[in-house]
Amino acid sequence: MAALLPTASGTPAAATEIPVEPPAGMRRRRWIPYALLAPGLLWLGVFFVFPVFQLAMASLWDPSGSIETGYTFAWSFSNYADAWEMFHVQFLRSLWYALITTVICVALGYPLAYAIAIKGGRWKNLMLVGVIAPFFTSYLVRTYSWKAILSDSGPVVDFLKWLHILPPDGRLLATEFAVIAGLVYNFLPFMVLPLYASLDKLDVRLLEAARDLYHGPVRSFFRVTLPLSMPGVLAGTLLTFIPAAGDYVNAQLLGGPNTQMIGSVIQSRFLVVNDYPIASALSVMLMLTILVLVMIYVRVFGTEEVV
């Protein structure tokens, strides 16, 4: 085909293959990228890599030690087996709650992000401020207010009893419903914002092209809008699932003994029971599990670009 269209199959490589010797001034500034990286790397090294290493070490301490007597490092892999034995219910429950939370957040967040990005018009910024407005108040305070809203004598329970959805002795607090509702509420913005970023970039002319090519609104959505917003879905689900799986505030404040999540177990092992080896083993297990799940997830649903 090249005969007719020289520009289409020309030789653009020629321009880039000229060996370029950077001028002396340029070479001298090669340290600049490293200088820019240094503060962040230092911070991560001191406050992330070192603590994680410390945690991994602690998970292998001899469990017979205590805070008073001190711990000794002993390659005690049995800590992991013990931790699993004692807390696998809370562990699996956390992953399950995080999954439900993520699914509900997608279901609620996608239409919201779509409405803001595509139909928002001049209200776009105001609506976005509305999405992030909860961040102006502390996470704990907001969760406490959920406790008040869902309390046994609160308006929501009264209303549901009046509708006979809840039995006369029914309650919301200390149920799965309350914990998941709290998680959804707290993590919804983390779903909406990346979805919005991705949908806002969507060229609406592509939707016109899809309509022009015999695709009605529903088919256009599944063949054009959704695939092109997958980076946002991916980022949003990760930003929701990961912190939700490790969350302990919602289970602690809104849940009961039967809705305990692994986060609160770890918190109480560290700070109440002072059982460092088991607490550390649980932390490492949670981290590795999430890491593996995320890797599988990104491998299956991932696109080349994220957001």
Binding site: M1, A8, L206, E208, A209, R211, D212, L213, Y214, H215
Partner: protein, 361 residues
């Protein structure tokens, strides 16, 4: 008129009180290459989008082969569009982009694959099926957009400034290419452009639009030689327009007085026959003579002084200031004879009255 003509009948489209398209009536014959030509904001793209179904007319109706498609959803119309931005789906490769419409139409896999391959060959992109749009040049993307629309064999193909983003050389190539493809497939092409040369090169029929209305419609040569208005005379190529007053009519000619010069225009080339008018002559139909004595008999002539001469290769373009102050543009073809005329020289500008036209002012 055959069954498959596209008829736009008294169509108006207003956007918040502003009439983008104003009571437009137009018949586009089946199988023709039709160009809607106009400056930006003249309503040509809005007209196209109404035919595509992407805008709904405020009033009037659009008929395609006897079928009223005015309110038909865009995805139900036998019409496809090549968008100005190409609007290729970035998450699909070239072949999937081209197959997008066919798959929805329920074509079986083998047929789809064959048609896509044929279409990519037609636009000379046979080897590019597995590439992503982002890996193609502008011209190649343009041809994918064309293939994606054409492969559905629409009754009408709409092209919205499809060559606007290409450089001049590629645009010329694609103009010829598009024309070849249109002849080959025989589908009605409606081509929107602001480039008069492009419209004239490609289309059988050109409609010049201004302020939501059609100023003139016809074959390019016909419109160029005898424009209907001063707007068309200036928009389609260049024109020298001289203010004149009609003084009378005699044996097939209208006589005018232009700044004291008595000039005649054949009646058949007059859009107006009384009152104030503009006498027009195309620059390439003006000739230069050393003085009035050298003007061939039967030619109209005015005196002037050359103020500028620029050599452009195929011709020399002269600006000649007429006694009444305005400048006339004269193209003298470069036929190899030395042209001694230099700025400052006094000359006579002359033309055959058969080449002049008279339009309303």
């Amino acid at each position: 008129m055959t069954d498959q003509d596209l008829c736009i009948e008294n169509v108006t489209k207003t956007f918040g009180g502003f009439a983008a398209v104003d009571d437009l009536t137009l018949t586009i014959p089946d199988g023709s290459f039709f160009a809607l030509l106009g400056a930006s904001g003249c309503g040509k793209t809005t007209t196209l989008r109404m035919v595509a179904g992407l805008e709904e007319p405020t009033a009037g109706r659009i008929m395609l082969g006897g079928l009223d498609i005015t309110r038909m959803r865009p995805y139900k119309r036998p019409v496809n569009t090549v968008f100005q931005s190409y609007a290729l789906f970035p998450h699909m490769n070239v072949a999937d982009n081209v197959a997008f419409g066919l798959r929805r139409k329920g074509e079986n896999r083998a047929d789809t694959r064959r048609k896509v391959a044929e279409m990519l060959d037609l636009v000379q992109l046979g080897q590019y099926g597995t590439r992503r749009p982002a890996q193609l040049s502008g011209g190649q993307q343009q041809r994918v957009a064309l293939a994606r629309a054409l492969v559905n064999q629409p009754e009408v193909l709409l092209l919205d400034e499809p060559l606007g983003a290409l450089d001049l050389k590629l645009r010329r190539q694609m103009q010829i290419e598009l024309k070849r493809i249109q002849t080959e497939v025989g589908i009605t092409f409606v081509h929107v452009t602001h480039d008069q040369e492009e419209a004239m090169t490609m289309a059988d029929t050109v409609a010049v639009m201004q302020a939501g209305r059609i100023e003139q419609l016809g074959a390019p040569a016909e419109m160029y030689e005898f424009p209907a208005s001063a707007f068309v005379a200036n928009f389609l190529g260049q024109s020298n327009l001289i203010k004149a007053e009609v003084t009378g009519q005699a044996d097939g000619h209208v006589t005018v007085d232009a700044h004291g010069n008595r000039l005649a225009v054949p009646s058949a080339r007059c859009r107006v026959t009384s009152g104030a008018a503009l006498l027009g002559v195309r620059p390439e139909k003006l000739h230069l003579a050393d003085d009035l004595d050298a003007v061939p008999s039967g030619h109209a002539a005015v005196r002037g002084v050359i103020t500028d001469a620029s050599f452009t290769g195929v011709s020399t373009q002269y600006l000649v200031r007429a006694p009444w102050g305005s400048e006339l543009t004269v193209f003298v073809p470069n036929s190899g004879i030395a042209n001694p005329a230099l700025p400052g020289a006094e000359v006579a500008v002359h033309w055959s009255p058969a080449h002049s036209f008279l339009v309303g002012s």
